[in-house]
């Protein structure tokens, strides 16, 4: 029950939002989001971290003729991503307290629908169910950017929508193919991931037109767009710049991870040979993404766009970690997904806070902010340190493990990727220097609108993020321990990946269903 509750509770909350009067929307939304977070923390107690099996499984037939079921389960790969989602939502609600000032009913309803769809994507163990959640997430995000976004919001939403849809359609075709492949192999259609893992999909090395390679690329394209990987990343900067702060936080914090999680859950274990064979391509694109994202971030005149491009760079790390296909790299990637959610989420929140004060994001118009807003500056610099992976912050743990894993997989790529360590410091510190240091800039000098430092609400928004930055940096074992069994199992048995179900369930009602169908 727990997983369904966690998944569907926000959907119920969305309905609550629609019937409540405007006045109480914000506090109630905050309360409900915190409740959801508290419920999701129950996962930590019910989850058996020693087992790599998928746990707390729930399965109800949905379209039995085609083997589609409402099938939820959790393991070490998805646990922290779910909690990241429930953790960020109340922060976003509180963070958008004053930034979102019109149609707050619809906004919070959209936010909760989005939450359901994101959690659902992480928990779905049925490919069709996953697809539904994966696509569902586009709708509220579409409205979020389209209604509460900036000036070019329509351009940005359409671009975002079309890019993602183009990828997802490929994935849908691939899922249908796999469902039929299940019928051919096991005698019955199935959309269960557990059955997909058991399929032996023919692979011919070096040729493009064979089932595994095609399926590999179909899924990869969908997820690579979501991540986003170079060269299909260009929707991201536009979407981020136009999105309202909460939209950016959710987008960078969680939605991008749906892509990298997709690689972890679908691509790498299902198409083991193809992913091994084409690993170099993804290492290459990942490294290009790291360097390219950093270089382009460096020359952005807009702070938010700079952070958006830094996401391309950071997610490049996640990708090379995944495709290093060893324990260090994959653990590091999972960790980096969480880090990126926290540090980039925090950066977008901080940028939102200053934007609310000055209504401008142009770096050149700032300068000397450190003197005007000291507390804001301290927090910004802490988050910057996390973003550029200074030890004792979370960023270091992820980046170190990813680079270690990449080094084991391929030294040339690791050496190329290490340049990102330098470039990351370059674009962030250069921005910090121009925005915070030096003499007071145009916006900071403005006598008529003296800037106020962070208020209690804003500090409350940032505090949990700062705590996590250090907690994850100083005691990574706490977080890694929950994922270790699953990741170990993943890395060691990827060629012949099977996931057990715990507690063991009688294998699928499908057998009975099939009997009827015939």
């Amino acid at each position: 029950m727990l997983l369904s509750v966690i998944t569907l509770l926000p959907l119920a909350f969305a309905l609550v939002m629609l019937v409540l009067p405007e006045k109480v929307i914000r506090p109630v939304a905050l309360l409900l989001a915190v409740v959801e977070f508290a419920v999701s923390l129950l996962l930590l107690t019910s989850f058996d971290k020693a087992s790599p099996a998928i746990q707390l499984v729930e399965q109800i037939p949905w379209v039995p003729e085609m083997g589609i079921s409402y099938f939820l389960g959790i393991d070490g790969l998805s646990l922290w991503l779910v909690i990241l989602t429930t953790f960020l939502t109340p922060i976003v609600v509180l963070g958008s307290w004053t930034a979102i000032d019109n149609r707050i009913k619809g906004f919070h309803a959209a936010l909760f629908v989005l939450q359901t769809s994101m959690i659902g994507s992480f928990l779905a163990m049925d490919a069709v169910l996953f697809y539904v959640f994966f696509e569902l997430s586009l709708v509220p995000m579409y409205f979020m950017v389209g209604i509460w976004g900036g000036q070019r919001r329509i351009y940005a939403t359409v671009k975002f929508f079309i890019y993602t849809m183009a990828g997802s359609l490929m994935m849908l075709l691939a899922i249908i193919y796999l469902m039929f492949a299940c019928r051919d192999t096991f005698g019955q259609m199935s959309a269960s991931l557990l059955d997909f893992y058991r399929l032996k999909i023919p692979f011919v090395a070096g040729e493009f037109l064979n089932p595994q390679t095609l399926l590999f690329f179909a899924f990869s394209l969908a997820f690579a767009i979501k991540v986003p990987m170079f060269p299909v990343h260009t929707w991201l900067p536009d979407a981020h710049v136009e999105a309202p702060t909460p939209g950016s936080v959710i987008l960078a914090g969680v939605m991008l991870k749906m892509g990298s999680y997709g690689f972890l859950r679908f691509v790498l274990p299902m198409f083991a040979e193809a992913s091994q064979y084409y690993a170099w391509l993804f290492l290459f694109l990942g490294v290009v993404g790291i360097i390219y994202g950093a270089l382009v971030a460096m020359v952005q005149p807009d702070i938010k766009k700079l952070i958006a491009y830094s996401s391309v760079s950071h997610m490049g790390y996640v990708m090379i970690g995944l495709f290093s296909l060893n324990m260090y790299g994959v653990s590091g990637s999972l960790y980096q997904m969480l880090n990126h959610g926290i540090s980039t989420g925090a950066l977008f929140l901080l940028i939102g806070m200053i934007y609310e004060r000055t209504h401008n994001r142009e770096i050149a118009k700032y300068g000397g902010l450190a003197k005007a807003l000291p507390i804001y500056t301290i927090i910004f610099i802490i988050v910057t340190m996390s973003s550029i992976a200074v030890p004792m912050t979370n960023g270091f743990i992820g980046e170190f493990m990813i680079l270690l894993g990449t080094f084991e997989a391929s030294r040339p790529f690791a050496i190329a990727a290490v340049t990102g360590v330098v470039l990351g410091a370059v674009y962030m510190l250069w921005m910090v220097k121009r925005v915070f240091f030096g003499p007071a800039g145009e916006l900071v000098r403005d006598e008529h609108h003296p800037l106020h430092d962070l208020n209690a609400r804003e500090l409350t928004v940032m505090a949990p993020l700062v705590v996590l930055i250090f907690w994850m940096g100083l005691n990574p074992n706490f977080f890694l321990d929950y994922s270790k069994a699953s990741l170990d199992h993943f890395v060691k048995n990827r060629d012949n990946y099977r996931l057990a179900v715990s507690p063991a369930q009688p294998k699928l009602e499908n057998v009975a269903v099939r009997g009827e169908a015939q």
């Binding site: 390219y292 330098v422 240091f437």
Partner: protein, 643 residues
């Protein structure tokens, strides 16, 4: 053992507590309270270090004391403990860092008394010390790296302490980024070692070194690892080609320059190599690189020091140059001498930086030596202590610098890893050092006063001159633990016995050291007399005949301009690396993102739309047309089946 754990905890956490204390009340203007707390915190660390180090002495001496607090990271085969260790190598460092650190904190109480944000300053300074202790005491490469980046961060914050000045903020950024280049190399070194030995722990790495497996080539894994690590060292310890950040780092408050950019942090690279000395001895080619880079840096930085006018810049280039000596020592396999020089240099360079701080303080923030001169009269204590520092750095016996520098030069000449050419460079550098330091003394303290009339220099308060006095004593006696064998009648000095277990001798396979007392005396005589001659020369130039340097500069105009502008290295980096990179990035953004990828997707979009509208034209709603499609379709299908 329990008590050791507590001692380690206090040793590490005292500065951290100081950091928190001052960090929380960072707005306070009470420099005395902030300073006293911060100084006391470091002093507590110093006492704890003494208690721990004392266990390495005496009848019940242990080879090392250590403790482990918790497991920091555990992934796959990588297990990293938050463990700390004091052995004969880290003992010297920890005492120097906490000892000299205490003195510099104390000096800062006076120096920062009029600053706007003294609490913030002391918070940073304590946080720096905390990180430095992690760097020194960490039992594995990863903890060292934590401290390594941590001190870089503090250095960044402290260089840019007066951040409203754009130039100072830029200097901080430059320091961090240049260091990061080194750090990237350090990381690669850690990776190489981890996959080679399956551990990042220092003692385990050393235990797992292949016996007699010296790598003679360039591509062996140990050589590669050592070279990667050395890249890290060139960043942190300001060696060619990454030294450029250190002179700019003088933008920070002067005690910071003394603590971070002279006495402690910048020696981290040397310390790391000494820590891993048995590994480096397995990779002689890497050591050759270390030696050559060290010697070259020592020489080049010294020549730049000849022409600078800013008192702190002169000292900064001198630091770069002295660091070069330390690497030269490591490179010829004289790790003990390298660490010895780290220690003596910490004494005399901290002394001189603090002295320059005292001068700058007295001169109301003036740093240009052309506006000084004759300050001996106004600042007798500062002058006296600075004088001792000067004797130490130019290597006059029995002051500290003589012993460590002489040891390095003799090892350079005699070690099987050494070379005559390196020795010549070393001696030349010693002469140049003697020249520019004497020049500094003349321009600042001696000769005629050029102090502007409105400035009234005054001697520093006791809280500032007491640290100077202590450091002056240390700069005098600090070298006596390493008196050359020849002077002791062939007996090993204390330092050699101290390092006996932890510093490996150069393997026999690499050749034999030269043993000749006559040669050693001769070498010593040559370098000493050269230094003295250069000092006298500088005195004539800048006191007896002050118009001479200007005329020389006129005569050798080109060379002078080249050296005065620091060989245009910064300009070269900007013109050839940084600006092209920025331009290229703008190009990438404009052409790849906006023009290529987006255009392509628009074209794809158009194609889709085109296909869609073509397809749309088939759906006319005309029944006869549909019938025709069916007929055609059937015909084609029939053809395919019956073919």
């Amino acid at each position: 053992m329990m008590s050791n754990q507590i001692l380690f905890a206090i040793l590490l956490l005292a500065p951290f507590v100081g950091f928190m204390f001052n960090g929380i009340r960072w707005k306070s203007h009470n420099a005395t309270l902030a300073g006293v707390v911060a100084t006391f915190a470091v002093f507590v660390s110093f006492v704890c270090s003494l208690l721990l180090v004392s266990q390495l002495f005496g009848a019940n001496a242990v080879p090392s004391v250590g403790t482990r607090f918790f497991e920091w990271m555990n992934v796959g085969g990588l297990q990293v403990q938050a463990g700390f260790v004091i052995d004969h190598i880290s003992a010297i460092m920890v005492l120097v860092v906490t000892g000299v650190g205490t003195l510099i904190h104390m000096f800062s109480i006076g120096y920062m008394s009029h600053d706007e944000r003294p609490s913030k300053y002391f918070a940073y300074l304590n946080f720096f010390l905390f990180n430095m202790l992690l760097l020194i005491l960490g039992e594995n490469l990863l903890l060292m790296f934590v401290g390594w980046e941590g001190v870089g961060l503090c250095s960044y914050l402290l260089i840019g302490f007066w951040f409203t000045d754009s130039e100072k903020a830029a200097a901080g950024m430059k320091a961090f980024i240049t260091n990061r280049i080194g750090d990237a190399g350090f990381l690669l070194g850690i990776f190489t070692l981890f996959f080679l030995f399956g551990t990042v722990n220092f003692s385990e790495i050393i235990a797992r070194l292949p016996a007699g497996g010296i790598e003679m080539g360039w591509t062996g894994p140990m050589t590669v690892a050592c070279l990667f690590l050395f890249v890290g060292a060139t960043g942190k310890s300001a060696q060619i080609p990454l030294y450029v950040w250190l002179p700019d780092a003088m933008a920070g408050p002067t005690p910071v320059s003394a603590l971070i950019h002279a006495a402690t942090m910048v020696t981290a690279g040397v310390y790391m190599i000494v820590r891993l000395n048995p590994l480096f001895l397995m990779a002689p080619n890497a050591l050759h690189v270390v030696a050559v880079v060290g010697a070259a840096t020592a020489f080049f930085a010294a020549t730049i020091g000849l022409t600078q006018w800013d008192i702190k810049k002169i000292l900064a280039y001198s630091t770069v140059s002295q660091l070069g000596y330390m690497f030269l020592a490591c490179g010829v396999g004289a790790f003990g001498a390298g660490l010895f020089h780290v220690m003596t240099h910490a004494f005399f360079k901290a002394l001189m930086f603090l002295g320059s701080g005292s001068v700058i303080h007295a001169m109301h923030e003036e740093q240009d030596v052309r506006k000084m001169g004759g300050l001996r009269k106004y600042l007798p204590i500062t002058h006296a202590t600075f004088f001792i520092g000067w004797l130490a750095i130019i290597g006059i016996p029995p002051f500290a610098g003589f012993f460590s520098k002489d040891e390095i030069l003799w090892q350079t000449a005699s070690s099987p890893l050494g070379h005559k050419a390196l020795w010549v460079v070393g001696v030349l550098t010693a002469g140049i050092t003697s020249f520019y330091m004497t020049r500094l003394m003349c321009l600042t303290f001696w000769g005629k006063s050029r102090v502007p009339k409105e400035t009234h220099p005054h001697e520093a308060p006791p809280v500032m001159w007491i640290p100077l006095a202590v450091l002056a004593v240390l700069s005098t006696v600090g070298g006596w633990i390493g008196i050359p064998k020849v002077m002791l009648g062939g007996e090993d000095n204390w330092l050699e016995r101290w390092f006996h277990h932890v510093i490996a001798p150069v393997p026999e396979a690499l050749g034999h050291a030269v043993h000749s007392h006559a040669l050693e005396w001769a070498a010593m005589g040559v370098s000493l007399s050269f230094a003295v001659i250069m000092a006298c020369l500088a005195y004539t130039f800048y006191v007896s005949n002050p118009s001479l340097p200007g005329r020389l500069a006129q005569k050798f105009h080109g060379t002078y301009r080249l050296i005065y502008n620091k060989y245009f290295v910064d300009e070269f980096y900007f013109a050839r690396i940084i600006n092209p990179l920025i331009d290229a990035s703008k190009g990438l953004w404009a052409y790849v993102d906006v023009n290529f990828i987006d255009r392509t997707t628009y074209v794809l979009g158009d194609v889709v739309r085109g296909v869609g509208s073509t397809a749309k034209s088939f759906q006319t709603g005309n029944l006869q047309q549909y019938a025709m499609y069916i007929a055609v379709g059937l015909a084609v299908t029939m053809f395919l089946i019956l073919r």
